[in-house]
Amino acid sequence: MATRKTTKKPNVSAEELLSYYRDMLLIRRFEEKAGQLYGMGLIGGFCHLYIGQEAVVVGLEAATKDGDKRVTSYRDHGHMLACGMDPNGVMAELTGREGGYSKGKGGSMHMFSKEKHFYGGHGIVGAQVPIGAGLAFSDKYKGNDNVTFTYFGDGAANQGQVAETYNMAQLWDLPVVFVIENNQYAMGTSVKRATKSPDFWERGAAYGIAGEAVDGMDVLAVKEAGEKAVAHCRAGKGPYILEVMTYRYRGHSMSDPAKYRTREEVQKMREERDPIEQVRGLLLTGDHATEDQLKEIDKEIKTIVNASADFAKESPEPALDELWTDIYAAEIPQEVN
């Protein structure tokens, strides 16, 4: 695996490191809280946690500028928090409440924010990939230098629409970074059981698309690779593929006991590669922060996450009439049986 590694002494400020630490920790604590609320029955149905993958979105968000867009799959809570969406609105969508980003109508997998240029969680595997290319088309058409980050997983990488999109994106030189979050498992099927071409980024070569793989547990490596990819796109050189080697600690969804892999495999990843612990180590060994300062951040994050859970519990369910809005621009009278 030709992944990009950062040097041992990264050229990064204390401020930057602290912000990555804070952003990754927010995602992790938020997801842990969502898991708890699910266990309590306050969140129903499907809920896909991002725990373990935090460095991917936090590293790539660090490479964006205002106006850049992002679109992703159903494992979307981390992306929303990383691009600055309100944890209250995200959590309340998980509990299906009026205060949620989609007023409770979308749920965990379907949230959007025009303000943050977040074009959704999408529940259908791979469906967001051509949409991401279309967003990039609009930017190019409008003549600005925005870039669209189109996230999808190793499972989605085998969908036919990804192949079609690669071809069109390269044909039209679209400013889109295809981010393959390779967490090794498509639900219960490991990469090796789903493809004989496991280096997903190399598939771009067939279409003439540049790309590389990067260590997705190392936020600094992700950021560096993201900057390179973005520069490629902003320079009008067309799409770029970033395969980010990452790992999800939890099951595919809350109902998945993850029996297709060993406990040891997960434990090893947590102990040796954890993205948050890595940054914590850099902060402490580089004298960028003290234990007390980090504890203070932990406390702040806990407050934010607890507040989001309270908001998500207290926000009322949407009124029944709300189910009939937002189907068309102007409501079409329909029969209620």
Binding site: G44, G45, F46, Y74, E93, G96, R97, S102, K103, G104, K105, G106, G107, S108, M109, H110, G123, I124, V125, G126, G155, A156, N158, Q159, G160, Q161, A186, M187, G188, T189, R193, A194, T195, D256, K259, Y260, E317, P318, L320, E322, L323, W324, I327, Q334, E335, V336, N337
Partner: protein, 337 residues
């Protein structure tokens, strides 16, 4: 005879079919090593080998398309689409190829293919894990469409579907996998082990395609339904105290019109109930046939109770879902009319 859940009955049908006929192969996402997200294919790979029960990438178009090729040349593939909501990338192959191979080759080639899909809601799955797309299949000449409502029928119908010389869409109401859910979401479901239809023959048997079942005899009105709604209908009828006949269609196409007309001819009143959205839903087809064939017996307008014409919502699922209260209201109306 043995006690089985619907999951176990479906698994048993696979096992019996694979034992009888070496040409039966099982494919789909997570069906092999992992045994299926709902466990319907658990153990098959171990027992019959990876050649006969195998994982596919997340590639619905590829799953359906390759299965059609297999079926056209001597195999009897049973393909699983993980959720009916994921079927759309494969829909082109289902409609344009599977359904038409026999016709366009003047009978020289056929497509004895079964495509299984968990269908329906009631699991807080929101818009991409709850849909009921049966009308999209019944609208296509060349396909047969089956929706079982209990373990015994699930096994017998699946065996009949596998034996059938034409492509069969086999929709499994996922809310029924573990018990006969009657729409009372606030009460625990009765397990299949306590239900008469949880008693299933262990050897080969078929429930013929195109034969409905009268699951409750009555004289005041006829309630026509299928899948999860069979149990909702029975609960509503019991609670209404009215003498209503309930028909479980089991197969939507071919349709057992004789059973319908005999019943409505007797009762003179009719309600059609389904979980799928109302407009252009399968119920419209039944209503059209009933008014044509039972016109002079009818004493009241034929009513439909169905999912509202909205995307399947995350919040307020139990208002959207056509539960026993809505069915009871329709019973009162049709008896007044």
């Amino acid at each position: 005879m043995a006690r089985m859940t619907m999951i176990e009955a479906i698994r048993d049908a696979h096992t019996v079919a694979m034992e009888r006929d070496d040409d039966v192969v099982v494919l789909g996402e997570d069906v092999g090593y992992f045994g299926g997200v709902f466990r319907c294919t658990a153990g098959l790979q171990k027992r019959f080998g990876v050649e006969r029960c195998f994982d596919t990438p997340i590639s619905e178009l590829g799953i359906v398309g390759t299965a059609i090729g297999m079926a056209a040349y001597g195999l009897k593939p049973v393909a699983e689409i993980q959720f009916a909501d994921y079927m759309y990338p494969g829909y082109d192959q289902i409609v344009s190829e599977a359904a038409r191979l026999r016709y366009r080759s003047a009978g020289e080639f056929t497509c004895p293919l079964v495509i299984r899909m968990p269908t329906g809601g009631g699991i807080f799955g929101a818009q991409t894990h709850s849909q009921s797309p049966e009308a999209l299949f019944t609208h296509v000449a060349g396909l047969k469409t089956v929706v079982p409502s209990n373990p015994r029928d699930a096994k017998g119908l699946l065996l009949a579907a596998i034996a059938d010389p034409d492509p069969v869409i086999f929709l499994e109401p996922k809310r029924l996998y573990n018990g006969p859910f009657d729409g009372h979401f606030d009460r625990p479901s009765v397990p299949w082990s306590k239900h008469p239809a949880g008693e299933v023959e262990t050897d080969y048997f078929e429930v013929p395609l195109g034969k409905a079942a009268v699951v409750r005899e009555g004289s005041a009105a006829t309630l026509i339904t299928y899948g999860t709604m069979v149990h909702v209908a029975l609960a509503a009828v019991e609670e209404s105290g009215e003498d209503i006949e309930v028909i479980d269609l089991r197969t939507l196409l071919p349709l057992d019109l004789d059973t319908i007309t005999a019943s409505v001819g007797k009762t003179g009143r009719c309600i059609v109930l389904h979980e799928a959205t109302l407009t252009s839903g399968y119920g419209a087809e039944i209503v059209a046939l009933v008014q044509r064939d039972c016109f002079y017996s009818l004493e009241a307008p034929v009513l439909r109770v169905a999912g509202w014409d909205t995307p399947y919502p995350h919040a307020q699922e139990w208002d959207y879902f056509p539960g026993p209260d809505r069915v009871k209201r329709a019973i009162a109306t049709v008896l007044e009319g």
